[in-house]
């Protein structure tokens, strides 16, 4: 196990701790979803990079595919969740709310 791989794995773990603490400590729903939705894929990427260095070609291929699949899909899920929160709750605490303004400007029949 090279030192770089050790460092990358532990750093991925630390980023996962950051994602967990962010998901627990933040006050509003948006911040929690943002923390969990952004920090956790990065933690998987960093840990996967450590894994790519260590494992043979087959393992590296699996990790690259999983990382690509996650990078493409998780932001969409996080975005949809935040939009669901926006529509489900009365966003009184938001100082700047562009989505509501944008939605009012649209014609009423457009979804």
């Amino acid at each position: 196990m090279t030192v770089v791989a050790h460092f990358l794995l532990v750093f991925g773990g630390l980023l996962a701790v950051v994602a967990g603490v962010g998901a627990v400590r933040f006050s509003t729903s948006y911040a929690r979803i943002h923390a969990a939705g952004i920090a956790s894929p990065i933690s998987f990427l960093v840990a996967g990079l450590g894994g790519i260095i260590e494992l043979d070609l087959v393992g590296a291929g699996y990790i690259v595919i999983a990382a690509l699949a996650m990078l493409v899909t998780l932001p969409i899920g996080a975005h949809l969740l935040c939009r669901a929160v926006h529509r489900a709750t009365d966003n009184a605490h938001l100082r700047i709310d562009d989505l509501t303004a944008a939605e009012h400007r649209r014609e009423p029949n457009e979804t």
């Binding site: 794995l9 994602a19 933690s43 840990a47 494992l55 969740l81």
Partner: protein, 91 residues
Amino acid sequence: MITVALLAFAFAGLCGVYRLLKGPSLPDRIMALDLLLTSLMGAVVIDAVRRQDTSYLVLPVVLAIIGFTATVAAARFVEDEERFGSGAVNR
């Protein structure tokens, strides 16, 4: 050192479980489950490195796809509350 990384991913999972139990609204719970899935994926990678065995590395690929599909489906359900009308979302 690798056990430190595994413990870190386990801690992230515990935070996900805490948010899952406490989460005031449904989207929080959905994202908590997604956080659990992601930390499981990371733990599988680290365990594969620890055992120098790549047979289990299919699991993160499957989890990435399934986690996304579940999140999107649940987000659609949460969003169209008046059509499904389950009252799961506390206004």
